[in-house]
């Protein structure tokens, strides 16, 4: 077998480099090596409704105040207050409505401590479970940490959360976590 001419051997690295460059360019054009492109979350205006089939939430207003409007206590901690219409379509009452919403811009974790969240019936201030199939007008309150930077009058967005399975442990069963699926814009759209 005869050896290829010297000029052809010299051209090989250039062909390889060009092929790699083409490959990288093509992948970049198709979206790069990121695992999954980031989804754009639905942004809802105040008065809009987020409905996932199991529950629907409609936020009528959100505000930051320095006094808890339900208990009347306060002035030491900021409180986010939201007027929210709920409808739960399960087959049994739920106490999980506190996990459906949380302020996004107020220094709270995605899953605030349950002591810091209250969902009360707007008619009578009771914190009974949400009954299935029965529309309910509620007032949500979130007590903010003392480190929060929001002030009364500031705008905060409200995130809508759903719970998804994150781990299937043989002994403890399924572990779930809250996932942000949409948010309500504060103020007019």
């Amino acid at each position: 077998m005869s050896r290829p001419p010297r000029t052809a051997r010299r051209g090989r690295p250039a062909v390889v480099v060009a092929a790699v460059a083409l490959l990288i360019g093509g992948v970049a054009l198709l979206g790069g090596f990121a695992d999954v492109p980031r989804e754009r979350l639905p942004v809802l205006p105040l008065g809009g409704t987020y409905d996932n089939g199991l529950y629907s939430v409609s936020v009528r207003s959100v505000r930051v105040v320095d006094r808890d409007p339900v208990s009347g206590s306060g002035a030491t901690r900021r409180v986010v207050v939201a007027d929210v219409d709920l409808l739960f379509r399960g087959d049994a009452p739920t106490t999980g409505a506190a996990l459906w919403l949380a302020p996004l811009d107020a220094g709270l974790p995605a899953q605030p401590a349950l002591d810091d969240v209250r969902v009360v019936d707007e008619r009578n201030g009771l914190t009974e479970p949400v009954q299935p199939g029965l529309p309910l007008r509620t007032v949500y309150t979130w007590t903010l940490p003392t480190t929060t930077r929001v002030e009364p009058g500031d705008r905060v967005r409200l995130g809508v959360y759903e719970r998804y399975e994150v781990e299937d442990a043989a002994i403890d069963g399924v572990t779930t976590d809250s996932v942000l699926v949409a948010f309500f814009r504060s103020g007019a759209s």
Partner: protein, 193 residues
């Protein structure tokens, strides 16, 4: 039996065993059934007794608003649905108990008792054993729930464990919805059986 006949029977035997296994799987109790309390079911108008509690439903009303007992704090009871007001006598039999985990089951859904009455009420009371109390159990349900026609009141305290018994009272739901229904104060009516 010849070898050929035996070979022909093998698939049939395998199919029969599969059928038996499928029947056993389908007829096995669900996790919910295994872990739920055992129900003692009886109709309204009769005292239904389980090991820990007893209950007797005297009547059922449906109303758009509640007339809370005199002296109660004012609480708004207007509803987009309907109130089911169950006139019931309940008692704990062996230990102190409450009835806050009771449920009204209607048309495949269950509803929790409302604590709208201030002070001791069916949803919030915690009473000593062997004492019978008459009270109103209040349930706020969607109006469409009335179409089911019948309901079951599962009388259950927070401490009821799996395999423990609970009284379940079956009742007919009223056809008519009143404007308002009177809510009883919780009163002691005597000793339990």
């Amino acid at each position: 039996m010849s070898g050929r006949a035996r070979a022909a029977l093998r698939p049939l035997a395998a199919a029969a065993m599969l059928l038996v296994a499928a029947a056993a799987t389908l007829s096995a109790p669900t996790d919910d059934a295994v872990q739920s309390p055992v129900e003692t079911v009886g109709p309204a108008g009769r005292t239904v007794v389980s090991r820990l509690a007893e209950a007797d439903v005297h009547g059922v009303q449906a109303a758009r608003r509640l007339a809370l007992p005199a002296g109660s704090a004012e609480r708004d009871s207007t509803t987009s649905g309907v109130w089911i007001v169950v006139d019931v006598t309940v008692a704990c039999r062996l230990t102190p108990c409450g009835f806050g985990e009771s449920r009204l089951q209607v048309g495949g859904r269950s509803y929790a008792p409302s604590p709208i009455v201030p002070g001791a009420s069916f949803a919030t009371m915690n009473v000593g054993p062997r004492l019978r109390y008459r009270t109103s159990a209040l349930f706020e349900v969607p109006r469409s729930a009335l179409a089911a026609g019948r309901a079951r009141l599962v009388v259950q305290g927070a401490r009821t464990m799996a395999l423990e018994g609970v009284p379940v009272i079956t009742m007919r739901l009223p056809d008519a919805v009143r404007t308002s229904a009177a809510v009883r104060s919780t009163v002691l009516v005597g000793a339990a059986s």
